[in-house]
């Protein structure tokens, strides 16, 4: 028996039949069970658990749909906004992800899609009580932001990661209209700012007067000057502010002032970390270290966008408590890093540039025994033979940081031995991403392919869910992955493999594979077909510059009707049938109608 609409779970005795107070009756028996279920399901927060619960039977499906308040959409094109809002009626928090990751590296056309607008209108209609919106790799305009700002009176949190298409005007609207705003995090997004000769809108001044509810304000990626006086005033009247990430237009003396205004800060993005232009040499500068000493709760430091390494010692007072340090914009060498890192005993997350060299990694390994996540980015992205970090650094880290769970390591040279060592020393690895910048590079010591190294990783790291491979790799590497990578969910492949067999190994061997991104590898139609049994379990498959033909894609589109196969090509009427890019994903709804001309969606 169906019950009407949504019952309010915290009032189990209120039913759709309203009567005088004296006539309160117990709900019918089957309804009781549902009400109990709804109350219980409230405690279920993990979406995978909820997905499982929703499959038990129809009443569980309904109860779960009514009680899910956090909705996660991993691919904005997997379901239409209407379908999502029809099923889940009381969503307070929504996460939507758009473009595939390779879009970050310019492999996807500019206007490919992932437009927020259709979601915006659906949300405004269906969820007026919306509180949180978290978007990743979506394209949203100033108008979209304005809609968000005006449609949700209870709106509290906006997090935009790797988004683009909007500018200062949109941000200003959020600031001005969302009176209950707690979180405004703009992370690694491309924000359209005015040209240098045009006037920059002062969005900081758009926050209303009086005490704010702000807990987190991150605007590192908003690449234009801010009104510092307004910013300082905002920080001063935000007693709950814990996280503040500044852009590079905030100088170190300005940072100093802000930190003294907000000593309760736990996460700080330091801005430029150098003096402003109008500070002459010899000027009396404040004791910057005092600011870091004043912020006794500081656990996370990032920024250092234009760092003058002379100022680095200012952070010493904070080092002992730091759990997260991001120096990935700071071109510092080993000697400059060491005095800092040797104090960071509690560090769990470290992002650095390879300018610290193997020697710097040695210092990290010696001190940061609790390190869980390490990312080493390259200063120089050319395909050189020499580089400042190498297998030496990787091995040293593996010996010193036994609790390592996640690593992203860019280098110019790497040996199988070092990778094998890491696989044995760091059994807790969940994420292993190694990028040897020189393509097709074998082990420089043995001249062998890097198959054995990656093989050891999948074999020994039993918790591994994410893997990115590089260097010279044969099909054997993929054989290892298929054999041992049973928990792997995300796999990134570039310039690797010999033949279709490589991809077949993976598609046939990895039952948990959800996201597969491949570029410039010799995998063709036969390999693609070997995954037919698994494609509905995947969020997406990306293959660019491989050996796929349009015909094979068409076949697959016909065989699996709920798969959208997007063929992206800049050429028309080519001599052969080969395609440049295949982006394939499961979808419950009709193919999207917002694709540019260069995208063909096969059915």
């Amino acid at each position: 028996m169906t019950h009407s609409g949504s019952s309010l779970p915290d009032l189990p005795n209120s039913t759709s039949t309203s009567g005088p107070m004296s006539e309160i009756r117990s709900p019918p028996p089957d309804r009781v069970l549902e009400i109990v279920l709804e109350n219980v399901l409230h405690f279920l927060t993990c979406r995978r658990d909820r997905n499982a619960a929703s499959l038990v039977c129809r009443s569980w499906y309904r109860a779960e749909a009514l009680t899910r308040s956090d909705l996660f959409i991993g691919n904005c094109y997997a379901v239409s906004p209407h379908r999502a809002t029809s099923r889940f009626r009381r969503v307070k928090s929504l996460t939507v992800k758009g473009k595939p990751r390779f879009a970050d590296f310019d492999l996807l056309p500019l206007n490919w899609g992932a437009n927020f607008s259709p979601w915006g209108s659906a949300l405004a209609d269906s969820y007026p009580w919306l509180e949180k919106l978290h978007l990743k790799r979506m394209s949203l305009t100033d108008d979209d932001l304005d809609l968000i700002a005006r449609s949700f009176p209870s709106f509290k949190e906006l997090v935009l990661v790797c988004c683009e298409g909007f500018g200062i005007a949109g941000i200003a609207s959020i600031a001005a209209n969302c009176r209950l705003l707690r979180v405004l995090d703009l992370v690694e997004s491309v924000v359209e700012v005015a040209d240098e000769d045009e006037e920059v809108m002062d969005w900081i001044s758009c926050f209303p007067e009086g005490e704010t509810h702000l807990e987190s304000l991150m605007f590192e990626c908003v690449d234009c000057p801010v009104n510092f006086e307004a910013l300082e005033g905002l920080v001063a009247r935000s007693p709950f502010l814990k996280k503040l990430r500044l852009n590079r237009f905030v100088s170190i003396p300005q940072l100093y002032r802000l930190m003294h205004r907000a000593p309760q800060l736990t996460h700080i993005g330091t801005g430029s970390f150098c003096a402003s232009d109008d500070v002459a040499v010899g000027d009396q500068e404040p004791d910057y270290a005092s600011a870091f000493a004043a912020c006794k709760s500081l656990v996370c430091l990032s920024g250092f966008r234009d760092i003058l390494p002379d100022y680095l010692p200012a952070i010493y007072p904070a080092c002992a408590n730091l759990t997260s340090l991001n120096l990935s914009y700071a071109d510092v060498n080993a000697d400059q890093l060491k005095p800092v890192i040797l104090q960071c005993h509690k560090l769990q997350t470290l992002w650095v540039l390879d300018s610290i060299c193997d020697e710097g990694l040695q210092a990290v390994a010696a001190t940061c025994k609790d390190l869980r996540e390490l990312r080493v980015f390259p200063v120089n992205t050319r395909e050189e033979v020499e580089g400042p970090v190498s297998e030496v650094g990787l091995e040293v880290i593996s010996q010193g940081c036994r609790k390592l769970q996640s690593i992203l390591f860019f280098c110019q040279r790497m040996t199988n031995a070092a990778v094998i060592a890491m696989s044995k020393n760091c059994p807790d690895l969940v994420v292993f991403r190694l990028c040897i910048i020189g393509r097709y590079r074998p082990d420089p010591e043995t001249q062998e392919p890097m198959d054995d190294g990656f093989g050891a990783i999948v074999m020994n790291c039993k918790k591994l869910t994410r893997l990115a491979v590089s260097g010279l790799l044969t099909d054997q590497a993929f054989r290892y992955i298929g054999m041992y990578g049973k928990l792997v969910r995300t796999l990134s492949v570039a310039f690797a493999g010999d033949s279709d067999q490589g991809l077949k190994y993976v598609l046939e061997g990895c039952p948990n594979l959800q996201k597969l991104e491949i570029r410039d590898s010799p995998f063709g139609d036969a390999a693609l077909r070997s995954g037919l049994h698994h494609f509905y379990n995947m969020r997406f498959l990306w293959m660019s510059s491989c050996k796929l033909t349009r015909q094979a894609c068409q076949e697959i589109a016909r065989t699996l009707p709920h798969l959208a196969l997007e063929v992206i090509d800049s050429q028309e009427d080519k001599a052969d049938d080969h395609i440049e890019i295949l982006y394939m994903y499961r979808s419950l709804d009709r193919p999207r109608n917002d694709a540019p001309k260069c995208v063909t969606i096969l059915q």
Binding site: D106, D331, V385, P442, H578, P596
Partner: protein, 324 residues
């Protein structure tokens, strides 16, 4: 003074762009390409083996054996990789295809050092033969590859823009060793065949030729812009092909109306669009008028616009002079 503008005809005779030379040789059906490669390799193999030192055998043999190599003569920019550059070059030397005779000249004239670098790649070492047992497996490692390494451009920009504390620029390192390195720093290729003043100039650009220099590029009417790393290229052709690639979907929309199938390069004069830039004085100039390294050291931002809109702007430098 070497002419480093985008002028196609004159550039042909300068051999600055050796990779493009290599590609000319490969224009044609796939089968032909392989034969040519093998000839080249055998021709140069022995001398190269002597030159290479044991640390550099880390590149696979050079080849354009991927299926996409077959499309070089389609002159379309691709979503992928290095071949995009090659394809655009192929396009521009459409005229040169028929001039078969110059092929051998090129091989001789071009003192072979850069060829040597490439051929060094091709010498099959024991490691590589394990990986690739037919010529279609051999890959080229020349030129900057779109989207590789997988780092977002804003990260490159910031890392490169800071004052350098890292090792001395690898450029100087390479000047001494370019004969042995099969690197793809086109700047050094250029240096090798150019005169010494050019070499010094390259090193003087923004302190280090290996640092990225990202400038914003916008297209009229499109709110979303991009950034390109000027230091990654050594010629207007390469820049143009990258621009084509970045805006290809938008350009292709316009293309629907045109008869030709080929996408035209922005700088070749025949397309509907052109590229202008703003220099450090704020002047707007047509791209291609000045030698490349002069352009590279003064450019601050780029703009793609319709030729028909050019008249509305007041350009500095040579007015309205488009390269052929």
């Amino acid at each position: 003074m070497m002419d480093e503008s985008g002028r196609m005809g004159r550039r042909r005779s300068h051999h600055k762009f050796s990779e493009e030379r290599e590609l000319e040789l490969r224009l044609g059906p796939p089968g032909e390409e392989k034969e040519e490669e093998e000839d080249c390799w055998s021709h140069h193999h022995n001398e190269n083996k002597r030159e290479r030192n044991s640390h550099e055998s880390d590149q696979s043999p050079l080849s354009l054996g991927y299926f996409s190599a077959q499309r070089i003569y389609n002159f379309q920019p691709k979503a992928s990789s290095f071949l995009q550059n090659m394809s655009m070059v192929g396009k521009e030397s459409k005229d040169a295809i028929s001039s078969q005779p110059c092929r051998s000249e090129v091989m001789e004239f071009h003192n072979g050092a850069v060829c040597a670098e490439k051929k060094a790649l091709s010498s099959p070492s024991s490691a590589n033969t394990a990986a690739s047992n037919n010529s279609s497996q051999k890959r080229s490692a020349a030129g900057p590859v779109v989207g590789w390494p997988p780092i977002r451009s804003f990260r490159k920009n910031n890392a490169s823009g800071s004052t350098s504390n890292s090792k001395p620029p690898l450029g100087s390192h390479h000047h001494n060793q370019h004969k042995h390195h099969h690197h793809h720093l086109n700047l050094n290729v250029e240096d090798k065949v150019a005169n010494t003043t050019n070499k010094e100039h390259v090193n003087n650009i923004s302190g280090s030729p290996n640092k990225g220099m990202f400038v914003k590029i916008n297209m009229d009417g499109i709110p979303i812009g991009r950034k390109v790393d000027i230091n990654a290229y050594d010629s207007y052709d390469k820049l143009s092909s990258v621009v084509d690639h970045l805006f290809r979907d938008l350009l292709s929309v316009q293309k629907q109306k045109q008869e030709e199938e080929e996408k035209t390069m922005i700088l070749d004069g025949s397309g509907e669009y052109t590229l202008i830039y703003e220099d450090n004085d704020g002047d707007k100039m047509l791209v291609g008028d000045v030698p490349w390294h002069m352009f590279a050291s003064t450019v601050k931002r780029l703009r793609v616009l319709k030729k028909s809109d050019l008249a509305a702007l007041s350009l500095g430098g040579k007015q309205g002079h488009i390269n052929h």
